[in-house]
Subunit: 324 residues, 2 copies
């Protein structure tokens, strides 16, 4: 199964699981470029089936009529896929089996575009490591309403094999994106790539959610920059303890880059504001557990994780209650 | 001036600066027991001058008619005081000079009942160290409305000399409280006392404010207890680096004690909810700076301080804003 995707030379069947900011955007782009895309949606099913996709993109808006892709709400009614793009929230990972198993044939590749750590491993446990390809989306996008995605900036995809060096399969998956107007690159080391992304995600998703502040506010003064940098440093040290090389001045470059993003709200902040579960375990919890197993001290990550958990457990008080 | 307060043998003149949860409660108790109390109020002046004090206390409610104490709004119209009890928020410490200077005679003692660190030092700079006595209030009380104080639990006062061992002066101040139904004790070492109180105040005020959660929620599971304990440990290590002995199992005893308090909201959480400035510098910032000067690492305190500062700088978003 490590070989090329059987049908990907001509017209691979692509299943996109989830129609939010990630699945909606990338799936619509692939369909826009004529690929055979089948979306598996739940809460947005009726709306997208009726109205199709509307993508408001900094690179140019586009719409997809309902019949430009297949909109489904039951995986058992979908065709076997050559490629499954997993774009549900990691808080719903307990549904992997019911959502993905019906879509598999002998050589289906499963690409998790989800946040954080632990997703590839879980998919490998359920469906076998050879099927698993890891993907990362470097994109600022938000779901505004069912089927309405705001693509704010960026959009690059990275793909890498899970547990082995990259071969033809990931090169073809990267080509699939590139040929659909999506910059894509192949990762030599998926774990290294995931940890590099965490260097950004831990401080900005974590602090953004706990403080309910957009990225620009988190780095608006020296104190904020110091805390963000210290969190980045903890992730870098943890990654290095796992044998994963991190580039020099990574924190500095990420901070400069973040300044160009404006008042961006991370997905964890948006989930908090919407009263939805936040991706605490994949973005904060699993990195913390891996650092602990290496004997690496990450006190700031630990505190951020526990603070996020407390908010999630007890809910957010939204009103000024009278003092009684 | 280190000697006994001149007039305290019979009927000392007591000025209480501030009529909130601390000044209102203790000042009203002293007046209830016949002492000559002069309150300096600002926003609550009209209401208290009209209606007096209403104290809802777990130990029994009581009211003070407007003429049972002197209600003032200008320190220049108040008599010279034997004892000044300072009970304003530390965020208003830039007003020390204008509020306190008019009240002083040659042997006036100034007792700050305020939170955190740095207040005694600032008073000593302005008015001379020999005038300064430090006080701490171990009380759960909230100001419900102008002149209406809810005394929820406890109430003990500790007093200690600033920069010298305790003598007759603090013993007499303690007697003044004790004879008014307020348990009071003399501290052998004021700094040690202030740091012991910080062991509780840093985690519960800091986390309570940043997460907007009451004390019971902060320690409702193992993860929360772990973070609270780790913050306590940082304060204990910082205090010990300053040569201040901390009792064994302090964190454990404080946690057990906190469990008896129920859903208590700390003053910083209440200030956050009310949109008022929080006492970030005295409760979090000054301990952090003192730890840094000792070369002690306090990463959790540092992060909590910066997180609180970010909330204070940028305000708290109270509504779920539509994603736009």
């Amino acid at each position: 199964m490590r070989g090329p995707l059987a049908a990907m030379n001509d017209s691979p069947t692509i299943a996109v699981i989830g129609g939010g900011a990630i699945g909606g955007y990338y799936g619509a782009r692939l369909a826009q470029h004529g690929h055979d895309v089948h979306f598996l949606l739940r809460s947005d099913y009726d709306a997208v089936r009726r109205d199709g996709w509307r993508i408001r993109s900094y690179a140019g808006d586009f719409c997809l009529a309902p019949d430009a892709s297949h909109i489904c709400n039951d995986p058992r009614q979908m065709p076997p896929a050559d490629l499954v793009l997993v774009a549900i929230k990691t808080t719903a990972n307990d549904q992997y089996e019911s959502l993905i198993a019906p879509l598999l044939k002998h050589d289906t590749a499963i690409v998790s575009l989800q946040n954080g750590l632990g997703n590839d491993e879980r998919l490998a446990e359920l469906f076998g490591a050879p099927r698993v390809v890891g993907g990362m989306a470097f994109v600022c996008s938000n779901r505004l309403a069912p089927g309405v995605i705001h693509h704010i900036a960026y959009g690059r995809i990275s793909v890498g094999e899970f547990g082995s060096p990259p071969g033809q399969r990931v090169a073809r998956i990267a080509d699939l994106f590139t040929s659909s107007g999506i910059p894509a690159e192949v990762l030599a080391d998926l774990r290294q790539g995931r940890w590099k992304k965490l260097v950004w995600n831990v401080p900005f998703n974590g602090l953004g959610a706990v403080l309910d502040q957009s990225t620009d506010r988190l780095i608006s003064d020296d104190g904020g920059v110091q805390i963000v940098s210290a969190l980045m440093k903890e992730i870098i040290v943890a990654a290095e303890s796992l044998g994963l090389a991190m580039p020099p001045d990574m924190a500095g470059r990420m901070l400069r880059h973040t300044r160009t993003m404006g008042a961006y709200r991370t997905s964890m902040q948006i989930d908090r504001q919407g009263g939805r579960p936040m991706e605490i375990e994949s973005i904060l919890g699993e990195p913390l557990r891996q650092a602990r197993r290496q004997g690496v001290q990450t006190p700031r990550l630990e505190m951020l994780y526990e603070m996020a958990r407390m908010l999630d457990n007890h809910g957010v008080e939204r009103e000024i209650r009278p003092i009684q």
